[in-house]
Each structure stands twice: as C-alpha cells, then as structure tokens.
Amino acid sequence: MKERHLFLLQRLSAIFLAPLVVLHLVVIMIAVRNGLSAEEILNRTQGNYFWGGFYVLFVVSVSIHAPIGIRNVLREWTAIPKTQVNQICIFLAVIFLMSGLRAVAAVI
C-alpha cells in the first residue's frame, strides 16, 4: 500500500468517524441520565441491529484511522525504523479490530 492510499484511508475513515463519534457521545449523555447499569445497556443493545451495525462501523473506522495516525506520530517523533513502525501499526489495527468487534458481539 502506498502513502497516498494510507492518506486517503485516514481521511475517509475520519469522514465516517465524525458523525459516529458525535452520536456516540450524545447516546452516552442521554443514557447516563438515569444511572448507568449493565442491565440498562444490554436492554438497549441486545438484538438491536441498528446499534450493532453502528458500532461495527465505528470499530472498523477506528481500526483504520487510529493506527495510521499513530504511524505518523511514531515516524515523526521516534527513530524506530519504518518497517518496524509499519509492523507495530498493523498489530495495533488487528488488536483494535478484534477487541472492538468482540465488545460489539458481547452486547448485541
């Protein structure tokens, strides 16, 4: 994958993330008004394919967006060689994706 593809992917994932993050924050604020309990969360999410799809998209966007950003930071601010930075970021992308999807699967 070339630099331009990573650049484009990061912008595209940001386009998705912007509204997703806003909605996520709004839901948090509304949801905690009556106290926050596991039961209340599960009542909202279990079997709800809207929230399932919403958070799958969220997790996928984060898993693309964040590792590319971290890659830029590591490359600008550390002396870690490029190949290793790439490996670290692929590893992070996999971790973000797996743990995120697992969390979604747990509540839907």
Binding site: K2, E3, R4, L6, F7, L8, R75, E76, W77, K82
Partner: protein
C-alpha cells in the same frame, strides 16, 4: 546655521543599533556589533555596513537589493526574511537585531547556508517541467480564464528564496519532508497543461515525505515575502486524492 558645536552634539546623540550576527563556519556563535541607526535602513544595509567598516571577513549573500532575486534571505530576530526588503524600524526589538543564517539548511560560513538540499527537494517532489512540445512547435495556447491557469497563476511567482522552507517546522523535524516550496512548484506543474508528466508528478508528490507530511499550519504562507500560499497549493495537492488531476 548649526554650529560645529551642535554638530558634534548631534554625533554624540547618534543612536546606535545593537546587532548580533551569527559568525562561524559550521559551528559558531552570535557576535555583537554596533551600527548607527539611520532612517529607512534595511537589515541588508546594516549587514553591509558591518562588513564594510567592521568585519571585512563577514560572509553573506545578496544580489538585487530590491526583492527580486531572493538571495538575501536570512533569519532576522527569529523569523526568516528577505533582508533587503526588511526595514530595521519594523523588526528591531528595543534597538536589538539578531541576524542568523536561514534555518533548516546546512551552515557554510557566517550568514551563508548551503541551498543544495533545498534545490534537491524540487527533484524529489517531481517539480521538474517536462514539456509536451518541442521548440519547433507553436507556443501552446493557454486560456487565461481556465481553472488550471488561475490556480497556476496564484502560485507561480516563487523565486526559490527558501524562506518558507526555513519557516517550516515539519522540514525541521522530518528530514524526508520535501517542504513547501517544492510542493508549491509541483502544484503549478499539475496545473500546467504544457507539462507532459502530470501523472508522474502527482505520484511523486504523494510519496513518503511528500504532501501527506504537511501539518497545514501555514507558517510557510505567513512568511513568504511575496505572499504566495504554499499551504493552499499543498491543500490543492491533497484534494487531488478525491478529485484526480486538476481539469484543463
């Protein structure tokens, strides 16, 4: 009629400018000089006065003295500027002037730095013109109102002075970054219908150390002495990811 007496009084009252000039080869330090403060004096005048009357071995570059060639660029009180177009009255900080070579380039001696790495970035960014025609063809017709021509016009007048390169923090910390001037030039070429290698230029622009490394903080644009906007050109380059090559 002023008497001799009042003349000497005037001389005694002559205000002096404290000037600290970076001296040395490779390694060096700021050395203090005192220069009479004069009306409409430019920073280049000050440097010339020091060299003529106090430090004949002071090295510095200039040519046109009127803001055309770009060779007199230096760091004045922390900011990159054309010294021939900078009035002392505008930049002196409580009568003190600190003059250093441009940042981000290897120092050669005193106020002279090596511009070769800056020129090399133009090649690296694909900012090299390859004509579609030959000298035997009729000159290309370019519509002055076309979007491309207007985009090229806005960024065309660069005279390679390296002020923006010196102002850019990303150039400072990322040795692979080609910098604002080379990318600005690449943008004019992408908008030049006579350039035969637009796709190749676009490829190079997005390589490692290309426009993707720019943080868009605009220090280049803020300091360009002729008010070009390399950061707008770089934004144009980034936009091509969504829009493709600029239309004709």
């Amino acid at each position: 009629m002023p008497t001799n007496n009042s003349n000497s009084e005037q001389t005694a009252k002559q205000e002096m400018l404290e000037v600290r000039v970076w001296r040395g080869q490779g390694q060096g330090q700021l050395k203090p000089y005192q220069v009479p403060l004069r009306k409409n004096q430019t920073v280049l005048d000050v440097i010339t006065e020091i060299q003529r009357l106090q430090a004949p071995d002071l090295s510095y570059r200039f040519s046109c003295r009127v803001g055309v060639c770009g060779s007199c660029a230096m760091t004045v009180n922390g900011k990159p500027r054309w010294t021939c177009r900078t009035h002392v009255s505008k930049v002196a900080d409580e009568g003190v002037l600190t003059i250093e070579p441009l940042r981000n380039l290897p120092k050669i001696k005193d106020l002279v730095c090596d511009l070769a790495p800056f020129i090399d970035t133009w090649q690296k960014a694909g900012a090299v013109f390859k004509p579609t025609g030959t000298r035997y063809d009729a000159p290309a017709k370019v519509d002055p109102d076309s979007a491309c021509r207007r985009a090229a016009d806005a960024s065309l007048q660069c005279i390679n002075c390296a002020v923006c390169y010196s102002a850019c923090d990303v150039v400072n910390w990322n040795k692979d970054y080609v910098g604002p001037a080379a990318l600005n030039r690449a943008w004019t070429l992408l908008n030049d219908v006579r350039h035969d290698e637009r796709a190749a230029t676009l490829d190079k622009v997005f390589e490692d150390g290309g426009c993707g490394s720019c943080h868009s903080h605009g220090n280049c644009t803020r300091h360009c002495p002729i008010e070009l906007s390399p950061s707008a050109s770089i934004a144009g380059l980034k936009r091509t990811l969504f829009t493709g090559l600029p239309g004709k």
